[in-house]
Symmetry: C2
Amino acid sequence: MSRAQVYFTAGPAELYPKFEEYLQEFVDLQIGSISHRSGQFKKIYQHTDEQLRILMNIPEENAIMFTGSASEIWEKLVLSTVEHESFHLVNGSFSAKFYQYAQMLQKHATNFEKPLGQGFSYGEIAVPEFAELICTTQNETSTGLQMREADIHKLKRSNNDKLIAVDMVSSAPIPNLDFTVVDTAFFSVQKSFGMPAGLGVWIANERCLEKAKQLKSNGINIGAHHDLPTLWKFAKEFQNPATPNVMGIFILGKIAEDMNKIGIEKIRKETDEKAKKLYKYFENKAGYSLSVNESELRSRTVAVINTEKPSSEIINYLKGKNMVIGSGYGPGKDSQIRISNFIANSAEQIDNLLKEVEKF
Amino acid sequence: MSRAQVYFTAGPAELYPKFEEYLQEFVDLQIGSISHRSGQFKKIYQHTDEQLRILMNIPEENAIMFTGSASEIWEKLVLSTVEHESFHLVNGSFSAKFYQYAQMLQKHATNFEKPLGQGFSYGEIAVPEFAELICTTQNETSTGLQMREADIHKLKRSNNDKLIAVDMVSSAPIPNLDFTVVDTAFFSVQKSFGMPAGLGVWIANERCLEKAKQLKSNGINIGAHHDLPTLWKFAKEFQNPATPNVMGIFILGKIAEDMNKIGIEKIRKETDEKAKKLYKYFENKAGYSLSVNESELRSRTVAVINTEKPSSEIINYLKGKNMVIGSGYGPGKDSQIRISNFIANSAEQIDNLLKEVEKF
């Protein structure tokens, strides 16, 4: 059955073109019934692990672990790596939530917050002396802002005594992060990987693990479910401590393998070209303006556009053409639209979308 | 495609007969792409909520909430309802893990532990005076033990000042729990509901919510992700605070609806009959004996059988006949087999299994 609607939403999003093929394989092989302690499952985990390492250039040292969502990782990461103090770069609703999680976990959380639509550059960031973890959001889905990889790397290099975390929930595997520099990063699969929601992926290095072990041995409560040392131990044997989302892990491995066949450099180039086309169109289109002024800080995967008229008008028009775009998030709900530029959104789909906007 | 293997494993397990039909509906309706804040999603959540209430007789007052797994609920439940002390009935590996979670969360956790193969009756349980939460495991998947519903209800009634939690991970919806008596219960979907893993279901009443709010206002750390007050608030609007496993919620609603059409009383009766047949067969079969002596404490959904010969022999023989049964868990690995009697395991499948065992 062909898909009736095309989704340009920020996640859940358009599914990966081969998703149905892999789902059928999952059904045919009866993977929904296999034990998560079986050799068959370990091979599935190992395959996904290997394909993600190739795709995102993740060193052998790091562990790749699975949770129920990326939001869960916000909690587990703070619990496992922060004794007293975390520092958060906040420029939208999701980075604000990451910050709020640290506060709810009763850490001394501080932030550097920007007004709506403004992003971060390395030079302006002053990290508090006693912060143990620097929390960055590489792609802020709510405001369409990105933080450049080079800035993240510089931030870590100049704060080498601290851990740095990269929320790449809605951009992975597009950012070219250097995992020999950043300590931990995480994402969910219902964004750029084009899968149904229900799986978070957590990448961490041994410094994170050592910190978690140190906290634990000092009597700090690092949680009971999916704490880093337990997740790590099982991940190194291609298992999860609890029964994970086996279907998600299987399909993620298949999609990562397919992306590796295409080549990540080609995928990144195509993503950049589609993003440029999207931004250029709305920059020059009467009735619209780009939410983010600095072109280098515009998200490559989620474009946020200001609308002069109520955003619902163009959203509803496109809906009538079977194209689903998002409204702005939170304060931008009625005056912005959000358009995903995920890997599953083909150049042809983007072209068709812009043609329809032109007709509106 | 017909399924090559029949699974009699304790979960992940044989899939519900109509699983593929519902999965196809999920694909055709493009539910993998819809927003978890949309009206379309809220209707899906509401449908699942309503069907579970009918199936398990859950009062309007209670909230039905979704997590990534039932193990996650162990943690969230202890965090949200225990300030100082929890009490655990332990008679196998999973009830032991629930107890261990409370310890890891730095609660004063006490337990009443039974030797392998022995279960609990109401009369013998002395609940510590200051325990705030009594943790019962209605169905201990590792040892094939159940706790009778009547005993759980009596335990609550005689400890009305405390909260009582029921782990029904591998038995729901078979136990006929009185949700006007028990305070909270939870399960996962890869057992009796015959679904792929990746979704936990948490049922709780207002007393649990009040306790969580009280702890929070007293400055107790109840966690940041999936804490009860936040989950509750969103559940009452048929949403989840983070992006949940939408596919799981959709299919669970479909399966619960199908079970309601059959009727829960009929399903419970069939489950009892199949269990009786299984136990009767192995009780009388040379080379085998039942692990649980007291017939009333034998699990209705996971039968644990002692084998005179190494358990791998019968397991491998059946594997050759495309029937997958489980080994014993932990200490019973080599000397026990475990056979699921879930709703997806039809009477015909059980008959065929016993015929093959007879030939061995």
